[in-house]
């Protein structure tokens, strides 16, 4: 008689060895791949009824319908204009500040740097309500300017911290070598410092754009009902409409900039530029 131990069964052995990996894989499939796949399918489905596994009728009809809705036609330019404006303003405010953080010694520097974490340290919604009260007094609620300001607040942490790290990562000796061969401080900044931090700056700008494009609560509290962005529109569309296609299509629209970001990030990481910018 031969005794059969549990570990001698190949499948069990495999599972004991790879168990955690398999659990992760299952989690990833159910948590990320399947929902995204469902959204993707819904966006291009015309008819999809139980018990069909796949849509029975495909087409772009709902894309036409979604993108021609009056509220979305108003919100999409709003969203894009808002994201561009916030990104540009944030760059104008934060990049010189981050250069100063990286290069100058001044009293309270560490404290100031850490203070940018505060906006992220409190529950967002409570913070927004408090801000909304102040904005109300300044008549900023319901205005485009109000939404811009609240979004700017969100971008500070990212746009200060990433470029500060990047500027700190540039070895001063590299800049001195530039001065040494005859470049003026401005030439050194433009031709040596900036190209070296560019990947990190670009990543920060792209993240700012994407975050602003996505942001919902601030836009909802301060902007609605006069200034509507795509994510704000999505809420009632998903909650009140029996048609899942609207939500699916809008999700894909919101997805687009982050896909661009991911593709770019991938290229940056492969090229080693990102880490180079951080002086690693």
């Amino acid at each position: 008689m031969t005794t059969v131990t549990i570990t001698s069964i190949p499948f069990i052995r495999f599972f004991r060895r790879e168990g955690i990996g398999i659990l992760w894989l299952i989690g990833l499939i159910f948590g990320i791949v399947l929902p995204i796949l469902t959204v993707l399918l819904w966006a291009f489905a015309i008819k999809w009824r139980y018990p069909s596994v796949l849509p029975t009728e495909w087409g772009l009809d709902f894309w036409m319908e979604t993108l021609s809705r009056a509220d979305i036609r108003r919100a999409l330019p709003n969203s894009i204009a808002l994201s561009v404006l916030v990104t540009v303003l944030s760059a104008v405010i934060c990049l010189p500040a981050s250069f100063a953080f990286a290069r100058l010694q001044f009293r309270g520097k560490q404290g100031l740097l850490l203070s940018f974490l505060f906006t992220n340290a409190f529950p967002r919604f409570g913070l927004y309500i408090a801000i909304a009260v102040i904005f109300f007094r300044f008549k900023l609620v319901g205005t485009f300017a109000g939404v811009v300001v609240i979004q700017l607040l969100n971008t500070l942490l990212l746009m200060i911290w990433i470029p500060t790290a990047a500027f700190q990562g540039v070895d001063r000796a590299l800049e001195e070598a530039g001065l040494d061969v005859g470049a003026s401080p401005l030439q050194v900044f433009i031709q040596i410092t900036l190209p070296m931090v560019f990947p990190a700056l670009f990543a920060a700008l792209l993240l700012t754009f994407v975050n602003t494009f996505y942001e919902t609560y601030g836009a909802l509290l301060i902007g609605a009902p006069n200034v509507l962005t795509i994510p704000v529109i999505m809420f009632p569309l998903i909650n009140n409409q029996p048609i899942p296609q609207f939500g699916a299509i809008l999700s894909l629209v919101l997805f687009a900039p982050s896909v661009v970001l991911l593709l770019f990030a991938n290229r940056l990481l492969r090229g080693g530029y990102l880490t180079a910018g951080f002086g690693v």
């Binding site: 070895d171 590299l174 530039g178 001065l179 061969v181 005859g182 401080p185 070296m196």
Partner: protein
């Protein structure tokens, strides 16, 4: 013809004085090493010449024209740094061409000069590479090419080889010397490595605590140190505390005469090189007796540590032929030594013909 002179240069960071009133004159085509331990102010001195640090006081002149007021990008100096400082986003060619473009050279001239510079440092085919594709030694050669291509009046080198391994360091050192002679440029080389300084320099300025202790030719720095610091810092030296009583040095139970005219009373320090200690017949009155504590075989010679009664452990270099082992009793006598007294010119003493014992038969 380019000469450099520093007049009463001083640099102070807050309360700390990095460089005390420093005077230095470097001749045209000369290779001068500034040698000293870390923190002695040598790099600060070099950075003041390059313009990266502003002197607190004093004047820096190149060809007798003051450059103290010029920013680094306007100075006729070029620097090779300790760290690798090639710009990582530019190819080697662009790294070298960068300065030329700023100076408004034509494309044809730039091409010619870059190729010439690459040729000079022995890396003619490296133009298209990125710095990350080069080894440390190659990067420093390109950095040298980048510095030389602008035909600066003074070449400054701040420990350029200290990040390289020992063998490569020796090779690059020789190559640097060849290139420096070939282009006939005045060069200032900062290092903490005395071997590097002794083998490279026309003259060495030994610095300590922000001051030049001795400025001299390499052989004189070794043979005739003018201060206790230089005596201790350069090469290996036995430093023996002693007492001088008029015309006699008293060290332990030994008494040695001092050349006449050097009478003095007070504490002194005797400096004896390990190679200046000779073995004499035991029983001789003037001999320093001791017991071999440790023998280190260094290839063509031996370093022997001898424990003595009054002078602690002496370092002695002996040829391979001398058969010494641990616990061997030795009688030693200095053939040459220097007497250092507080704030006075050191006295060099040649002991003359000390009777040498035939080495066989020593037990």
């Amino acid at each position: 013809m380019s000469t450099l002179s520093l007049h009463q240069i001083r640099k102070q960071f807050g309360d700390v004085v990095a460089v005390h009133e420093m005077n230095l004159h470097v001749n045209h085509g000369e290779f001068l090493c500034i040698l000293g331990p870390s923190g002695c102010g040598k790099s600060t001195a070099l950075r003041m010449i390059a313009g990266f640090e502003e002197p607190t006081a004093g004047d820096i002149r190149i060809d007798d024209r003051s450059i103290g007021m010029l920013p680094p990008n306007k100075r006729p100096t070029a620097m090779v740094f300790q760290k690798y400082t090639l710009w990582p986003h530019m190819r080697v060619y662009e790294n070298i061409a960068f300065g030329l473009r700023l100076h408004g050279f034509s494309r044809k001239d730039i091409d010619e000069k870059v190729k010439g510079a690459l040729e000079l440092v022995g890396l003619p085919a490296y133009g298209k590479r990125f710095p990350s594709q080069l080894s440390g030694g190659e990067q420093q050669r390109i950095a040298l090419a980048r510095a030389l291509v602008l035909q600066p009046k003074i070449l400054l080198l701040d420990e350029p080889f200290s990040n390289l391994d020992a063998l490569l360091r020796v090779r690059l050192r020789e190559e640097l010397r060849r290139i420096q002679r070939q282009v006939n440029i005045t060069a200032i080389f900062v290092t903490h490595d005395q071997e590097e300084a002794l083998s490279l320099a026309d003259r060495i300025a030994v610095m300590n605590k922000g001051r030049i202790e001795q400025l001299d030719h390499p052989s004189r720095i070794y043979e005739q140190p003018q201060t206790l610091f230089v005596a201790d810092f350069i090469g290996v030296m036995n430093l023996l505390p002693a007492h001088q009583d008029g015309g006699e040095i008293i060290i332990g139970s030994y008494r040695m005469p001092v050349p006449s005219g050097n009478e003095y009373s007070g504490d002194v320090t005797l400096a004896v090189r390990p190679e200046d200690l000779a073995i004499v017949p035991s029983g001789s009155d003037a001999a320093w007796n001791g017991q071999v504590e440790h023998v280190i075989d260094l290839g063509h010679y031996r370093k022997v540590l001898v424990r003595t009664e009054h002078m602690g452990v002496l370092k002695v270099y002996l040829p391979k032929a001398v058969d010494v082992r641990e616990a061997t009793t030795l009688a030693l006598q200095p053939t040459r030594y220097t007497i250092f007294r507080d704030h006075q010119t050191p006295i060099e003493v040649h002991a003359g013909s000390v009777p040498q014992l035939s080495l066989q038969g020593m037990a």
